[in-house]
């Protein structure tokens, strides 16, 4: 199963693969949350909802249910790179 923004750990980055255009607010797309863009999880609120992300130069806070809809591929984990 592909991962979503909700699967990111704080500090991790990913590339957006797929966004369900029908179920995501237009605003999110307008802010540059589009396939091919890099997304970074900056912070999590208590109870892990909402999520504070950075995409296309904008800082956005989105609900967890929204984050679960946006499919990404995780970028190479920095820790793994350092280990190898």
């Amino acid at each position: 199963m592909s991962s979503t923004i909700a699967h990111l750990l704080v500090g991790e980055k990913g590339i957006i693969e797929n966004i369900p255009f029908d179920s995501v607010p237009l605003k999110l797309l307008e802010m540059g949350c589009l396939p091919g863009k890099e997304v970074e999880l900056i912070q999590l609120a208590p109870l892990k909802d909402p999520l504070y992300i950075k995409v296309n130069g904008s800082h956005l806070a989105i609900r967890k249910e929204m984050a679960e809809l946006i499919e990404i591929t995780k970028s190479e984990n920095l820790c793994e790179v350092l280990k190898s």
Binding site: L26, K27, E30, M31, G32, N56, G57, S58
Partner: protein
């Protein structure tokens, strides 16, 4: 006023890009400016004398990320651009923040799509050197088919090139 031509100019742009700063510089008025989005929530009008025969009536509009309104103040921008009121602008000045140019250009492309005459003003140009931003203005002008100005409203400067 006899023999005086008035052109209507609308300032449009993302929140917190310096529309009101530019407005104050152009009109000599003292509209409230702060360094966070959402300060301007209604439209304000001022005027600037361009030369003996031409006066510009400048409208400062609330910041918006797109022309699809999601709030009351964003709706003001749409109304101004869609000729709902009688103060339809002759030219739209899209004010963009040099640090978030990509996001700002989305709004610019929407306004271009409406076929309203528009020019792009890239504000906060004093940040270019500081932040290590490089801009190919000539290419951008060609791609957007528009006039582009580099300014710093706060420092009252216009930049010729990078």
């Amino acid at each position: 006023m006899r023999g005086t031509e008035v052109i209507k100019v609308a300032l449009v742009g993302n929140p917190n890009t310096g529309k009101s700063s530019l407005f104050n510089q152009l009109t000599g008025l003292n509209q409230k400016v702060s360094n966070y989005p959402g300060i301007t929530v209604e439209k304000k009008t001022g005027s600037a004398t361009l030369n003996k025969n031409v006066t510009a009536s400048i409208v400062d509009l609330p910041g918006t990320y797109s022309i699809n309104p999601t709030s009351l103040d964003e709706n003001i921008v749409l109304q101004a651009l869609l000729n709902v009121d009688d103060d339809y602008p002759d030219v739209v000045v899209v004010v963009a923040d040099v640090e978030n140019l990509k996001r700002n250009l989305f709004l610019f492309s929407q306004i271009k799509d409406l076929e309203i005459p528009a020019i792009l003003v890239i504000n906060m140009a004093d940040q270019i050197e500081k932040k290590g931003i490089s801009l190919n203005l000539d290419l951008l002008k060609k791609e957007l088919n528009s006039e582009i100005l580099l300014v710093s409203a706060r420092k009252k400067l216009r930049y010729r090139s990078t």
